[in-house]
Assembly symmetry: D3
Homo-oligomer: 319 residues x 6
Amino acid sequence: MSEEKQPPIEPISGTIVPRYAGPSTFCRLPELRDVPYCDVAMLGIPFDSGTSYRSGARFGPQAIRQASRHLRTNFHPAYDTEPFKQLQVADAGDVACNPYNIEEAITQIEVAATDLFTKAKSIVSLGGDHTIAVPLLRAVNKQVGPVALVHFDAHLDTWDTYFGAPYTHGTPFRRAAEEGLFNDSASMHVGIRGPLYSRQDLDNDEELGFKVVHCDELQTHGVDHVVKRIRDRIGDNPLYLSIDIDVLDPAHAPGTGTPEVAGMSSRELVNIIRGLKGVNLIAADIVEVAPAYDHAEITSLAAATIAFEMVNLVACRPS
Amino acid sequence: MSEEKQPPIEPISGTIVPRYAGPSTFCRLPELRDVPYCDVAMLGIPFDSGTSYRSGARFGPQAIRQASRHLRTNFHPAYDTEPFKQLQVADAGDVACNPYNIEEAITQIEVAATDLFTKAKSIVSLGGDHTIAVPLLRAVNKQVGPVALVHFDAHLDTWDTYFGAPYTHGTPFRRAAEEGLFNDSASMHVGIRGPLYSRQDLDNDEELGFKVVHCDELQTHGVDHVVKRIRDRIGDNPLYLSIDIDVLDPAHAPGTGTPEVAGMSSRELVNIIRGLKGVNLIAADIVEVAPAYDHAEITSLAAATIAFEMVNLVACRPS
Amino acid sequence: MSEEKQPPIEPISGTIVPRYAGPSTFCRLPELRDVPYCDVAMLGIPFDSGTSYRSGARFGPQAIRQASRHLRTNFHPAYDTEPFKQLQVADAGDVACNPYNIEEAITQIEVAATDLFTKAKSIVSLGGDHTIAVPLLRAVNKQVGPVALVHFDAHLDTWDTYFGAPYTHGTPFRRAAEEGLFNDSASMHVGIRGPLYSRQDLDNDEELGFKVVHCDELQTHGVDHVVKRIRDRIGDNPLYLSIDIDVLDPAHAPGTGTPEVAGMSSRELVNIIRGLKGVNLIAADIVEVAPAYDHAEITSLAAATIAFEMVNLVACRPS
Amino acid sequence: MSEEKQPPIEPISGTIVPRYAGPSTFCRLPELRDVPYCDVAMLGIPFDSGTSYRSGARFGPQAIRQASRHLRTNFHPAYDTEPFKQLQVADAGDVACNPYNIEEAITQIEVAATDLFTKAKSIVSLGGDHTIAVPLLRAVNKQVGPVALVHFDAHLDTWDTYFGAPYTHGTPFRRAAEEGLFNDSASMHVGIRGPLYSRQDLDNDEELGFKVVHCDELQTHGVDHVVKRIRDRIGDNPLYLSIDIDVLDPAHAPGTGTPEVAGMSSRELVNIIRGLKGVNLIAADIVEVAPAYDHAEITSLAAATIAFEMVNLVACRPS
Amino acid sequence: MSEEKQPPIEPISGTIVPRYAGPSTFCRLPELRDVPYCDVAMLGIPFDSGTSYRSGARFGPQAIRQASRHLRTNFHPAYDTEPFKQLQVADAGDVACNPYNIEEAITQIEVAATDLFTKAKSIVSLGGDHTIAVPLLRAVNKQVGPVALVHFDAHLDTWDTYFGAPYTHGTPFRRAAEEGLFNDSASMHVGIRGPLYSRQDLDNDEELGFKVVHCDELQTHGVDHVVKRIRDRIGDNPLYLSIDIDVLDPAHAPGTGTPEVAGMSSRELVNIIRGLKGVNLIAADIVEVAPAYDHAEITSLAAATIAFEMVNLVACRPS
Amino acid sequence: MSEEKQPPIEPISGTIVPRYAGPSTFCRLPELRDVPYCDVAMLGIPFDSGTSYRSGARFGPQAIRQASRHLRTNFHPAYDTEPFKQLQVADAGDVACNPYNIEEAITQIEVAATDLFTKAKSIVSLGGDHTIAVPLLRAVNKQVGPVALVHFDAHLDTWDTYFGAPYTHGTPFRRAAEEGLFNDSASMHVGIRGPLYSRQDLDNDEELGFKVVHCDELQTHGVDHVVKRIRDRIGDNPLYLSIDIDVLDPAHAPGTGTPEVAGMSSRELVNIIRGLKGVNLIAADIVEVAPAYDHAEITSLAAATIAFEMVNLVACRPS
């Protein structure tokens, strides 16, 4: 399409407008309505009615956008990319989700994401709690069928129900498995750690098709080993990448709802992501940022950085 | 009943166990299971799925109890009471509410409160968001029929629905009015202030039977005037007292979900309550403490103090 | 102009998009580019290179906008207004100011405000430190000539220079006096308190034409008295209203650069502003919000509320 | 003494060294060793082993000094004073007190203060918890005999013992009464409020000679009335003024160990102090600032302001 | 004893009562009075009068219990344990210690722990400052004689006296050595780092029998090496494990009294503890959590996790 | 010089005056005016007008000094030094810099540092933002000519101009290169990470003579490798060491202006510095501590520790 030959509209430059000023879009990118085409849409999903402990991720998208002001985005040496020159990236705003009705909210997210895929080739979502992965996976499925799924988290998130509710932030990947939304030979949890609700949790999880990279493997085997395990598992399948910020240690991400000690450092996480250069990333989410528990934006800055890394992965996607 | 002739079991004394030590019950009172009878039960209701802006009141009961350690409770000169010697007060623990299903949670609260009234003459509830007032009023109604209702709040809380939900923290008193849970000739909002969602809000509210004491009347007419307006309105009807901590100014109560500037000082609020000495208080709630937004416990200390004042009001109830 | 007959484009409704979601404009208003005409433009001025103690007001506009999400704006009973139905209000974004060159920044602000007056009838500015009042007054002067000036502040802000710099947050009203930007028979400081840098400060200030309402007059004479003094002073002159958030007591506005104890409560300040209903407000600023020192947004919520009150004053302007 | 004819060495000027820079003495005053004579010595007493709830006042003196950087001190219009020109004021540093032995610490404080009175005419102490009032009163007594005592506090501080300890922050004024350190016809508590540990507390207190100005008298009778009650009580006796920062409401002073709601505003407190202009102030303390619980220095700024007001009272002392 | 054949009373389940609700005991376990027998008692020791810098650990036990709500405890894969099914664990409440008399407090702790050993086979203590290790070691000694001692800390804690006091948080292990409370051929410090008060500190420490694993060995040799050094040192001796939370880096444990940079990550610490599976743990403490300096509970969550790991070690104890 | 034979005046001992008490100089060292000679002067430079994002480093020197109270300084086993016995170290106070005029401030710093070199052999500066490195390097140059330069930072700080300003915290090392202030065959950045403002940034930087040790080399090659690279690069040239605290991960240093995730741990940084024992350190700075964003002093404690390590490096300087 000739229209796409236009160079992308880039974010406001930090040399013209100081980074603490100007629009509150992700990285001060243009809004979706302002671009003639869109390679990657950043989508806020301020929903946290699925949380089981500390709530507050409804304020996550705003906080991630605010922290993203501070990112330097012109050139990323780890990927050798100039992502906002190579891709048209735009901020698609927030999905308006019903805070009082989880099922309705899930439908609203699915509808919004499905619609957004008519305007954007890829979506990077800014959560919100982990409940939102189900409708996002549904929308992705409509585009490309079952995807490889890599899920960074301290927790498995494959419980069945919680207080009778099938859709909560502890259950998305069981629902996704039941609906066949991902390729169960290309699915993986990364960063799992700590005690469990039940001796059966890991077995049940395995039955759903997941492999697990425990967080301690980083301590014993290092980043490159973890990267290799992930790449071997997902191959060149179209990929959905879901990152719960609590995969980071609470020192690196205090602002989240269910922190678990002994997690990854932000350097480990970022380097694993950078190790995935070349995978076929279709869509991604970064979830569970709860700003009321953050300090000096360290959690939302980590999340903003991760979202930006995701865009770079898209920029390196095999064509 | 001869058993009731026993003097009450009092809280752990601060001269024997330092106030920062010992049990985490309200004011370090005995648990309900440890007392042979109960005049006032303190009931935690950790529920916040009805919030519309900042959530987190689910952690309110714990925070209020923790702050209550610090209260001096032996003698209250404003009431000339020794409340924990005059009444057997006990901590009834928390209602287990479903965080994912508002209707179910409301039922759980109603059932728990109704059951508690078989064991305790009065209930002081520690919220939780304001949604919980509906089931509490239902339980009170079963005891004494429609009650006088005095509602301290920055907001009217008489919207119809919000995102289609009939039960939220913005709607309890419309629901209560519809169900006839309070005596509409003895109902009053106190502390209302600020702009409104609609020009009709005040009219609609009046149709439900409420009178309004605007917060600015404190500035212009003072505490005694406000006390008189309330006492004139409620007479000697059995009273339900519902206090949203956001009736206080954000300076006095930052830890809440929907703060509104230009509110009451804690001195004004406490003195209004003290002015109600002698009213026929049956049950009460203090709601909307969101500890994640609090600082140095000032909000939870205010709420703990208010809950203790409520107990003193019960101690002064006409016999 | 027939175009202006269209009803204003209103903010996103909180009944459709939850208040924590949606655009980050002031009160989720439309952007200036989205409205066919504009009665009041909200203008962010993220500049704080004029501060002398705690810096950080450069993050003020963003914080005020974020806090403004929470305001209820449909109907304001104190003014009997539906401001966003009566006026087209829009967010004009931020002025890009040079953080390293105060003079250049002042020029940038003056140019931006002057240009904005070609698109909007009134401007409410969100600071930024108090330095910004000078270029704003210049722009206003080009519209209407010298204005009445009411300045709420703990400090006089009429020093001559500071470290040799003529333009700092302690000097704007001396510069403005020297340039004849305001009508010296209709100028007033309100809320002044505390000790001074010099015995001459008050005398010098008086020579510039200012009258002073000391903060203690609120304690002794009350809000109505202060309102009357202000109204008597300004008459029906076109008015510039400049509010330094430190006019509030640190309990009500901790998030500011030069806090001074013994200040106004937010209730006093808001009620004074409401008492000014009917004045001829042309432009206004709310400055010195330093979010790094704020807690739970109480300072930025106060500032957002004040900015909204200013819009209501415009809505009540005599026609 | 001719040496005293020299004008005082003043603090570092804020027009030469920015207020956030330069020495960490109180108000950037000279150290005691740098002045040829001394009218008022500021004495830090970092001791908090007498606390019963939240500790941390050991960091109080440093925090008060840090906050004092921000004060404007050249001219105080409420007293018509230029205190640091009229008096030689100097910072005497901190008393080194044993944190593990209360009795030894009390002796150390008494020795240090007694010694300091050989070098300075008046002492303003920066606490530290309220235990320190006993040794300070002893040292004052050695100078002028029993003094009038005005004690601002939420609490009476006249318990007998606590956990067997005679010297704690809840007992200083009983010890002082027993030792005859103050004139019991000129002693007064101001700001008392809230419930009590025992019905006898007020009676016991009265037996010790104290009169009480309850905090609620401010609400009902105002600042001038309270000022008059104090002045009537103390007459022209030499005065010791002891101010526990918790006399302020927690909104105004969150950073303290035993906060009590419904307190004074900082405006009320400051205006009462200013109303005492002309009393015969010999020594004073400001205690119970616990910085770990403070926010944005509002508590330590209040304490620093109060300490500065005390210096102004000395400057207005009848000669 | 047939009574012990009953399966343990488990904590309140998070599937029935949300984890933010319900009792405030450690992990919502039963109280000691509610169990017919007890394998491990969790004992709070809210005492901090032995601190030398930041105080506040008196609030540690409450904060650790509150953070423990959030732990998943049913199954621990690192130990292959279901600890609360295998052992009857109960919360024994707090020791009431005199805050004003260190010696008396030590006696109170010793008496309480000695008594508790008549009811419980093992004790895990929640501090409190490190002073409490002495009376705990005394009580343990009465049970099993001198124990192996593994002490995780940034500091040696083997000073002689501090300000003349023999019992402070810097001296417990010298006192313990003098009293022969541990087996000096099986004692070890782990995590020591940073500069020292004296060149003699390490020599003196060695004379007391300690070996030292410096924190830097983790950087250079890794977790397994450190685990081996510890296991080689302690053999199968009955073990007392004492963990000062400041062994963690301030990033992982800001909420403590004497933080020291360059410490362990929580992942390192947890993995070392897990490496000790099979040791003969008799009793343990986790100390020096000062909640006033914590953020988002990351320190108290780390401490709660460590306490839970300790219980798992007991569950794996050789029989 | 015979005068220098006197043993150094050491800091106040923590066994005589508790560490939270006493003077606010760095490590409670003597002031410069109190020592007969000086080996190392600690110099505060409270200047932050060169910041581009979060300001507030003007409060850095005070915060670093306050945190330094807590350091144990008698003996450092990593260097086998007793630094304050081997060297006379003194606190030289703060440079008074004009906050409104960057050029003037730079001159003031250069003059102050040049003057200080007449009194002290080495200078360790406490920033302040990174702008201050230019005048410090100029002063150093006057002493020893061009120096080796090791620069720890997340960012290159070799931009040309920013908003037209040649001197900002993003440009010092380009200015220094242009002026020939360092030996371009012995210069190095350490800890660089993250995306860049431009693809040319690294090339431009290389042209200025810098080698880069990327932060990820720590993950892959370890501390010893990084130490070797640095030592190989600098040889025995006189060295200027400049450490931006943001070289640390935000988990370890939240209190800074331009945080970047995936940084060094404090253990890595401290061990690299210790690995430099024996280099010929002439002067050093630690910059960009912004206390308003710090928590529980973890950032300022890290900075204080680094400054103390720098003094130890001087103590180990080859003679």
